[in-house]
């Protein structure tokens, strides 16, 4: 186990800034899967999601000394990825392709796995049709398990707006799923 493995994100950021820049790899390792999943959810394109996450990590590294370690590092990082993803959408304004695979891991037994897979396929199919405006808070809340407060920080919108978007997203999801 290396020096930074047990440290919190914020302490690790301090260490990257003041001691060893190589420790940044630990931070990247901690968040790469989550951020890739989030970026895929917004962009629905594997390659673009990977590019966006990589670019976001580089931007985060460049601006790491500007991060206030009293705040939550994960929210800051998600925000960078979100902004990068939005820029990417603006850049490639075109029809967003459908996801080939669902990404909802489960550790239940086979039967549960099957049900879960069916359910997640349905949810993913509905989610694909949802505009990014509503897909983002929904993904953050259910897939990334972020609180409303964290979503507010990531999307930079008031908590009330998070609630409103969540309600609309759920309603839209319901309509979309019933159509299927």
């Amino acid at each position: 186990m290396s020096t930074g493995d047990t440290q919190t994100d914020e302490t690790l950021v301090e260490m990257v800034c003041t001691q060893d820049q190589e420790l940044y790899a630990l931070l990247v390792g901690r968040y790469q899967s989550k951020l890739l999943r989030y970026a895929r959810g917004i962009l629905r394109d594997e390659q673009k999601a990977e590019d966006v996450v990589q670019e976001a990590f580089i931007k985060a590294f460049i601006n790491l000394r500007g991060f206030d370690t009293k705040k939550k590092f994960s929210s800051w990082l998600y925000r960078i990825v979100h902004n990068e993803a939005m820029n990417s959408i603006k850049k490639y304004r075109q029809e967003i392709p459908l996801l080939e695979t669902a990404d909802f891991p489960s550790e239940e037994n086979i039967e549960d796995n099957f049900i879960q897979k069916e359910l997640s396929t349905t949810v993913t199919t509905c989610l694909k049709a949802l505009p990014a405006l509503y897909a983002a808070p929904l993904t953050l809340y259910y897939a990334e398990e972020k609180s409303y407060d964290e979503i507010s920080d990531i999307l930079q919108i008031p908590i009330g707006t998070v609630g409103t978007r969540m309600n609309r997203a759920k309603r839209l999801m319901k309509q979309l799923c019933q159509k299927k």
């Binding site: 996450v53 580089i58 590294f61 601006n63 000394r65």
Partner: protein, 175 residues
């Protein structure tokens, strides 16, 4: 499985990019100066807008008796750079406000509305206290706006009292 490989690649890709392109973290002073510039920019934008708005209040207040010519005079002689600067100041102020965390924690429309209202009220107070007039006579703005406000031109084209530029001008009233 392919996703796992991709995930592993990201860390190595990021670290390789940092090493090969010699990517450096920006120094702490950069962010400190950035925050300082944003703060003073906001204050400056607010003060400039308020001052320009107080001049507009002042110009309208001392508009003269011949109201029928007011719009013509306004069009012909009004210092258009004043509202222009006020608008630029307000825009810069709003853009800078977006940098602050409270701007998204609260309703941003309300933040903008409060900011504009604060500037308008400050402008009005500046005008009512006579500070604008004093500043326009003594301050750096004298060269730019002095001749128009004090030589009988501008909004005082309708002023026939001959008292232009002699002390604080009382607003005319329609009787």
């Amino acid at each position: 499985m392919s996703k796992e490989i991709n995930d592993i690649d990201i860390t190595s890709k990021v670290m390789t990019q940092i090493h090969t392109e010699h990517i450096q973290m920006k120094p702490k002073i950069y962010f400190f100066l950035g925050s300082l510039a944003a703060f003073f920019g906001l204050v400056l934008a607010m003060v400039t807008s308020a001052f320009c708005i107080s001049i507009i209040y002042f110009s309208l207040r001392t508009g003269g008796r011949m109201l029928e010519y007011k719009l013509e005079t306004l069009y012909a002689l009004f210092n258009w750079w004043i509202p222009l600067i006020a608008i630029v100041g307000l825009t810069v102020g709003v853009l800078l406000l977006r940098r602050y965390e409270f701007s998204y924690k609260k309703n941003f429309s309300l933040v903008i509305f409060s900011f504009i209202l604060a500037v308008l009220v400050t402008g009005y107070v500046l005008d009512q206290t006579g500070l604008t007039e004093t500043l326009s006579q003594k301050g750096p703005f004298h060269e730019l706006m002095g001749p128009r406000l004090h030589d009988g031109a501008g909004f005082r084209a309708g002023d026939q009292s001959g008292s232009v530029g002699k002390g604080r001008q009382q607003p005319y009233r329609l009787e």
